[in-house]
Amino acid sequence: MDLLQELLRARALEDLLAARAPRVGAFDRGRVSVSPAVPAARALHRARDGSGDVFSARIGAPAAALTLGIDPRVLVRQALGSATAPAAGRSPGGFPTDLDLGLLEPVELPGILVEVMAGVALAFRVRGEARVALLVDDMAGSASGDWHEGLNLAAVREVPMVLVVDHAVGGPMDAPVAEMGARAAAYGFGSHRVDGTDPRAVEKVVWNAVEAARAGDGLQVVDVAPPSSDPVQWLAESLIAAEAITAEALAAVVGTAEEEMRRALEEVESEPQPDPALVRPSPGLSGRVPSSSTVTE
């Protein structure tokens, strides 16, 4: 039920933002993008003091950020480019960086996040910390040199990193192989595969990969095969069939999630637009990352 609840909150947020801020890349992927990002985020060690695992995602980013504890209003502010957003309208970002929550802002450039997350994991290894860096991406990035260089470095250095590849997006021109598992021996990473239909299965397989990385097995890659139906709906129907939830209770959860996100949007829409003076860099945004303001109260 927790997983379904988180998926439904994420779905409500995505639907709302897809309508209000369609140019934000993370929202134009269709209605399946909340999974595998949400179950993948649930597989991490979560903390609110900067001691947990670190997450980034080109796919399903805002959805997973909710799971990791960010306030939905912050995500709406970021998407709408509001003055009160952590980036103050300077960057859309799927979510803002909040290292206390383990969130590293995704960028839309395919491949670069693989390098950056390899570096995050490298820092964990250097410091001997039992933490993991996890990135959710699609196969489109795999055609880039950055993707290859990042994975190669992560594998050579045996850093605690997990790459979750969502095959529900992307096209036939992305790669000559259907899944990353075909490259496991060549790169030297641990390979995992799961059908994307059942978010619970995704969470379990990603959790296995995360714990393997944490245990010192180095880079792990999880191929999430395209779901045969909408994973959120599939999970809801499964839980109803198993009598773990009633249709009425489900409707109530959906209603609560939609109401929460509607209120967040309403509140943010009444907030001011950024001051044009903010176009230029200012000392206020050049230091450490803001954090406490982004946490759900």
Binding site: E105, I112, V116, A118, A123, R125, D146, E149, L285, S286
Partner: protein, 341 residues
């Protein structure tokens, strides 16, 4: 003091003069001793000690977690350095030759330079390495790369010309909260005339401040790197042969540019010559010229001129490279013309 320091990082502690290269090695060593978050990444910097032996002996002293040999993948390890910087480490990335920074252009300009602006946190990291011609290195081991990045807000570019500045500026760069590209001219690395005894204290040279390398009254020469020394030679010659007095301004930092220092000098001399080893079109001379035009036009008593490398890839054969690079003669000739204008 870490165990077994190599000889080339101890000269200042012994009161001995250092070369430009040794000054850089001392800066790296001392910063690594001062701050356990500082670490080095690059191709062959560990076991081999670096192509120019800047980091010889560092691996034995600091270990593989702080002196990391990397795959030949500049984009990959520069991006990884950014990730490590997000986590609070302070990476110093060596480009074996700065010509090889181009594969990292994407991550440097799109990701690293924008990080603070995006609200994703500033990235304290240094990308350093050898630049410049005169060593018969040909097109791929001789370039100056500053203008490829000069147009990118969010980056700083430092290009020292003396051992004192190299050490102080590199320390400042490592302690800076923002990404710094640090260019080291190969022709300065072991130049005997640059050997000097450095202060045996923890000094830094602030980023963003030019210096007057030679005071003069007739023409301001704005330059940096190896060309500071060519310009000083030209100034000696003109003083002796023509009684012309050149003021030589060493920019030291290219981004941010110390515009005030340049303008103040031009307001005194009324003439401006910009000298750089980088190629002509899109070189920093254009930016310096327009800023002086904007702020000191009424003080100018002549055209703004420039002496630069030709618009060509760096050639290999000695006679071609000598023709390609700005010479003392070129500088003296242009300055003489300006002084008499």
């Amino acid at each position: 003091m870490s165990s077994n320091p190599p000889e080339h990082v101890l000269h200042t502690r012994k009161g001995e003069p250092v070369t430009f290269l040794e000054a850089i090695a001392e800066a790296l060593w001392e910063e690594m001793e001062r701050d356990p978050d500082v670490f080095l990444m690059g191709e062959d910097i560990g076991v081999y000690g670096g192509a120019f032996k800047v980091t010889r002996g560092f691996l034995d002293a600091f270990g593989t977690h702080r002196v990391m040999d990397t795959p030949i993948a500049e984009g990959g390890f520069t991006g990884a350095a950014a990730g490590a910087a997000h986590m609070g480490l302070r990476p110093v990335v060596e480009m074996q030759f700065m010509d090889f920074i181009s594969p990292a252009y994407d991550v440097l300009t799109n990701y690293i330079a924008t990080s603070a602006y995006r609200g994703a946190g500033s990235l304290p990291m240094v990308i350093r390495g050898p630049v410049g011609g005169g060593n018969r290195g040909g097109p791929f081991h001789s370039q100056n790369v500053e203008m490829a990045f000069f147009h990118t807000p969010g980056l700083k570019i430092v290009y020292p010309s003396t051992a004192y500045d190299a050490k102080g500026l590199l320390k400042a760069a490592i302690r800076d909260e923002h990404p710094v590209i640090f260019e080291e001219h190969k022709g300065l690395y072991r130049a005997p005339y640059l050997r000097e005894v450095l202060p045996d204290d923890d000094y830094v040279v602030p980023i963003g401040k030019a210096r007057t390398a030679r005071e003069g009254t007739d023409v301001t020469v704005v330059t940096y790197g190896l060309m500071v020394h060519r310009s000083l030679d030209a100034a000696d010659r003109l003083a002796e042969e023509d009684g012309i007095s050149l003021e030589v301004v060493d920019l030291r930092t290219l981004l941010p540019l110390d515009e005030d220092h340049v303008v103040e000098s031009v307001q005194r001399t009324g003439k401006l010559l910009v000298v750089h080893e980088d190629t002509r079109t899109g070189g920093i001379a254009g930016e310096v010229a327009i800023r002086v035009n904007e702020r000191a036009f009424e003080w100018l008593d002549g055209p703004i001129l420039r002496v630069t490398a030709m618009d060509a890839p760096v050639p290999y054969a000695g006679v071609l490279e000598d023709a390609f690079l700005p010479s003392v003669n070129d500088i003296a000739e242009a300055a003489r013309y300006l002084a008499r204008y």
